[in-house]
């Protein structure tokens, strides 16, 4: 299998009010195509920071991040935007949908930003995604008219519209009730089964157990890994990290 993501000696330092905080202390990571991995850690462990760096939302202080043979550390803002558009799909804890656009318009937005000329193709793709995720009847509604679970499914559809190389999910169930959370995880599992590479950040052992491999991040460093499937050892490991 090809290595899709390769992060090498990645360091990230935030400076707030003259005080430096090292969020990542030289971590390295390699993710192969078609994997479904999860990163676990407590608040402030650096898991979201790592996700942001892999997604090209931020630049590391030191080290390199390569995704699908693209060195993100050498790209400018515009190149990164185009990279995200083409290769990355994001799913967030708080959905981050655009309130004044309909469900369908939200889903189509990344595709239209990439190429607004093939509107009929985009419409076909979005309709198919909405149907697949069970939200086609809400296509003309606005995000605020939907439940949290439905909004997250809209966010997943939006993330998948450009058929990204890598799906990044940051606490995708963190803001959902258990039923909705389970449904979102099922969808992610289905995506994975169809060949989608997924990297998920979570502190929920049940969610992490859906992944094939779980990495543990503590104070900006990887401190071990476990196979997915069974939430118990994952929860135990998390307790040990406290």
């Amino acid at each position: 299998m090809n290595t899709l993501v390769k992060a090498t000696d990645v360091q990230k330092v935030y400076t707030t009010g003259g005080v430096a905080f090292e969020a990542l202390k030289g971590v390295s990571l390699a993710i192969e195509e078609g994997c479904f991995w999860a990163i676990m850690g407590h608040s402030g462990s650096g898991k979201s920071t790592l996700l942001h760096l892999i997604g090209g939302l931020d630049q590391p202080t030191a080290g390199s991040v390569r995704v699908n043979e693209h060195d993100l550390t050498t790209m400018n803002e515009t190149e990164l935007a185009k990279f995200r558009r083409k290769h990355i799909g994001f799913i967030f804890q708080f959905f981050n949908l655009v309130d004044n656009l309909s469900v369908r318009a939200n889903v189509e937005l990344p595709a239209l930003l990439a190429n607004s000329r093939n509107r009929s193709q985009i419409r076909t793709r979005s309709d198919r995604l909405l149907e697949r995720l069970g939200i086609d009847r809400h296509a003309d509604k606005h995000p605020w008219e939907l439940s949290g679970g439905e909004q997250q499914r809209v966010a997943i559809a939006r993330a998948l519209i450009n058929a990204p190389t890598l799906l990044l999910a940051d606490e995708p169930t963190g803001n959902l009730d258990s039923n909705s959370g389970e449904r979102v995880l099922r969808i992610l599992q289905e995506c994975h089964e169809s060949g989608q590479t997924i990297l998920m950040v979570t502190h929920d052992p049940l969610a992490a157990a859906e992944a094939k491999r779980v990495l543990f991040l503590h104070d900006g460093e990887f401190v071990g890994a476990l196979p997915g499937g069974d939430p118990e050892p994952i929860a135990k490991r998390m307790t040990e990290l406290k």
Binding site: S48, H52, G55, L57, D58, E77, T78, A81, K82, R84, R85, K86, F90, F92, Q93, F94, N96, L97, V98, D99, N100, L101, S102, A105, L109, P110, L112, L113, A114, S116, R117, R119, H142, W144, R158, N162, D170
Partner: protein, 775 residues
């Protein structure tokens, strides 16, 4: 209260951009308000101000020397109704040559010291020094001939010899007027110079200016003076009230145009403050929610915002006032000079009070209205959504744009405009005002072009004018018939006319090839020669309450024994004397007004005429008797100056619109931080982010132009029609050059894009991670 004060201080100091925005908005608005009010102040009663400042005379008497002695003047000055006198003033009629044209002037000796009564307003340069042969010319001579101040003009001495004298200044005399009397323009010299040019003092004219104890007692004073003197001693007089009426009429053009623009500026100023402050508060709904969550009451929230913005506006308003006071002389000294008055700095208590209270007042109201809405929002909703109200829909316009296949960033931008409809409306109105101002200027320009190309619409039907002195009327007509390049001509004699109620005005008695001239008759028809038919200006018809078809009985040149009945058959655009003139046929009345002959001849020239050849023919030799003047510009300089003022003010309005677009975009950017972060996350490039903001602003500019163009044309038409009715012209032919109107669209879109460019660029730098981390 302590908590509120702490929070007010913290908000002002820790959010410098917002504080600066409020401060700059209030300071700029206060400065513009000061300038607008200063313009209105300087437009207010300019004649009355000059009159008082110059201690002008209420009554000026021009004597017939053969019936008056020095002691008669002293007896007049001793009358109880006379408060002050200028003392006897001397003058001689002379001719001056300016830029090749000769004209008659009244050469008037100035007293050595600046007089107490009827001082002159020196507009430019200085008074002539005693024992120096220098000239101070009147503003009216300058209006007609553009006298070179600092240069020299030729002046005829008593023996006919012409000498060149330097012009050292330009002055305004508050008692010079041609409305009711026939006065040549004045040129002032020292008594020494008058003596050297016209040594025979018996040829001098005498006059005296009087200030009366009762300014409205002019008739009474005249009656008392006529009782003292020989009945023919007072040749003519000038009543200060006539001059005042004439001056007010002359200033009306300035007043209407500049007044309208001052009004626009004030309106735009208020709009800028209201929209900016309201939007700033709107952008802080999330903070309002948090404050309420930690225990602030609605009243405390209101105090918090009112407190901080009022504090900033109380700092900004005086600074803006100071800026306005310092800047005001730049544009307004010219305005004052055009109105023949002194510049009045904007330091009057009522003006200061308005500037210091109106912008903070608007700040108070707009803060209150936005903060009350914010304070009423449910806490959770305020915290969760801020000003991005969850009920916002994607607009029909956005959907239409999307269906048309236009860029997605335009759809997003238009949605943003319509999502904040009130704020966008205020910015749109502001932009529309800018468009309206430019359209006003352009339409005025286009309309003036129409009148320039066809001056007959203004009642000006001739190409050149000839005046004569010694040459007889017949000989002059004979010369004009043979003159090269003269197609047709008619003579004109101005006669004093009076109706039974003793209301006096001037009649143009004309004779010649009238049919060859393009007289523009607004109503009725042209008079027929050799009949008692007349055509009249709108001003005269209004004044005497007459209509076309009416008859009027006139006493011409005091021939009371032979009143003449005229039938008014038409109305024409009379350009002089507020339209209060009448035109009659000279051959029909010359037998009743014997001893008078025309001295002015109006010419129509052939298209291929040679001006030099014609001048050489009519003005041969060194001291010709005939004087030829070509009509080069039918418009006074004031009109050109006003056009410049209008365009200047348009620029100010556009500047205000630019600031408002900047404010709106900046606030939209601040409100939309989260959305920008999301859009960037899903792949919006910096250029697309910039495009979203600039396209939204450009679209607003486009809408403003669509609205402002027809509004501006209608407004100009309305205003010019009002003016036209005052001047006695017919309907105004309003015109705007289509190319200029077309170019206005890209201009306004460009201005709007320019205003949004900087905040748009700031938006491209929004850090996605910061936005995501703030959740």
């Amino acid at each position: 209260m302590q908590a509120i004060w702490q929070k007010v201080k913290a908000d002002i100091l820790t959010r410098p951009l917002i504080s600066l925005l409020v401060f700059v908005t209030v300071a700029t608005s206060s400065m513009l308000l000061t300038l607008a009010l200063a313009t209105l102040t300087n437009l207010n009663a300019p004649y009355d101000r000059s009159f008082e400042e110059l201690n002008a005379a209420h009554l000026w008497l021009y004597f017939d020397r053969s019936f008056v002695q020095q002691r008669d003047v002293e007896r007049i000055e001793a009358l109880p109704i006379v408060a002050q006198s200028t003392g006897l003033r001397y003058n001689a009629m002379s001719q001056v040559r300016i830029h090749g044209s000769r004209t008659w002037v009244s050469l008037r000796a100035l007293p050595e010291e600046t007089p107490e009564v009827n001082r002159l307003l020196i507009i430019e340069g200085q008074r002539p020094r005693s024992r120096e042969d220098e000239l101070l010319v009147s503003k009216d001579l300058d209006d007609l001939y553009e006298v070179p101040i600092g240069g020299s003009i030729g002046i005829a001495k008593a023996d006919g010899e012409e000498i060149l004298l330097p012009v050292v200044g330009l002055a305004y005399n508050a008692m010079w007027d041609t409305y009711r009397s026939d006065q040549p323009p004045y040129v002032y010299v020292s008594l020494d110079t008058l003596q050297s040019l016209y040594p025979d003092e018996s040829s001098w004219g005498w006059s005296v200016g009087l200030r009366l104890t009762d300014p409205d007692g002019v008739e009474d004073a005249l009656a008392q003076i006529e009782q003292l003197l020989h009945e023919d001693a007072v040749e003519s007089h000038t009543d200060w009230r006539d001059v005042r009426r004439s001056a007010i009429f002359g200033a009306r053009l300035n007043f209407i145009f500049l007044g309208a623009f001052s009004f626009f500026t004030i309106l735009a100023t208020i709009l800028v403050v209201a929209s900016s402050i309201g939007s700033i508060v709107l952008s802080q709904y999330r903070q309002i929610g948090i404050l309420k969550a930690i225990g602030f009451t609605q009243r405390q929230v209101l105090w918090l915002y009112v407190g901080q913005y009022l504090l900033l506006s109380f700092i900004g308003a005086p600074i803006g006032l100071l800026g306005g006071v310092l800047l005001s002389p730049l544009p307004l000294k010219n305005v004052a000079a055009s109105l023949s008055t002194t510049f009045r700095p904007p330091i009057e208590p009522h003006l200061i009070a308005i500037v210091l209270t109106v912008p903070p007042g608007v700040v108070l109201l707009s803060t209150l209205s936005a903060a009350v809405r914010g304070a009423k929002l449910p806490i959770i909703q305020a915290i969760a959504t801020g000003a991005e109200a969850p009920e916002e829909n994607d607009s029909w316009l956005g959907r239409t744009i999307s269906r048309l296949g236009l860029p997605i960033v335009l759809t997003l931008g238009v949605n943003e405009i319509l999502a904040n409809a009130l704020r966008s409306l205020m910015t749109g109105v502001n932009l529309t005002l800018g468009v309206l101002g430019i359209v006003f200027g352009l339409t005025l320009n286009g309309t003036l072009d129409v009148y320039r190309q066809n001056p007959s619409l203004l009642g000006i039907v001739h190409d050149a004018q000839v005046t004569r002195q010694r040459t007889g009327d017949l000989q002059t007509c004979h010369l004009l018939e043979r003159a090269p390049g003269v197609d047709a001509f008619y003579s004109e004699l101005r006669l004093e006319a009076e109706i039974p109620e003793e209301r006096a005005f001037t009649v143009r008695a004309v004779d010649g090839d009238l049919h060859a001239f393009p007289f523009h008759i607004s109503e009725g028809r042209m008079l027929r020669p050799n009949t008692n038919e007349a055509i009249a200006g709108r001003g005269l018809l209004n004044w005497l309450d007459l209509s076309v078809g009416d008859e009027v009985t006139l006493v011409l040149e005091d021939r009371e024994t032979h009143p003449i009945v005229f039938k008014i058959v038409g109305q024409y655009p009379e350009p002089a004397n507020m339209g209060q003139m009448m035109m009659v046929s000279w051959p029909a009345i010359d037998r009743w007004v014997q001893g008078l002959e025309p001295r002015t001849y109006l010419l129509q020239l052939t298209p291929d005429h040679d001006p030099e050849r014609l001048k050489a023919f009519l003005e041969p030799g060194r001291d010709p008797d005939l004087n030829l003047t070509f009509l080069e510009n039918a418009f006074p300089d004031d009109v050109v100056y006003l056009q410049m003022a209008i365009f200047g003010l348009s620029v100010i309005l556009i500047g205000i619109a630019l600031i408002n677009v900047f404010n709106t975009t900046l606030l939209a950017m601040q409100e939309k931080m989260r959305t920008i972060g999301i859009l960037k996350t899903i792949g919006m490039t910096p250029l697309q982010v910039l495009g979203m903001f600039t396209m939204a602003a450009g679209f607003l500019g486009f809408l403003a132009t669509l609205l402002g163009l027809p509004l501006g044309i209608s407004f100009t038409k309305g205003l010019l029609t009002v003016l036209s009715s005052h001047f006695g012209f017919g309907e105004v032919v309003v015109n705007i050059h289509p190319l200029y109107a077309f170019l206005l669209v890209p201009l306004m879109i460009g201005v709007s894009i320019l205003g949004s460019l900087i905040p748009g660029r700031w938006a491209t730098r929004v850090s996605i991670v910061d936005v995501l981390r703030s959740e």
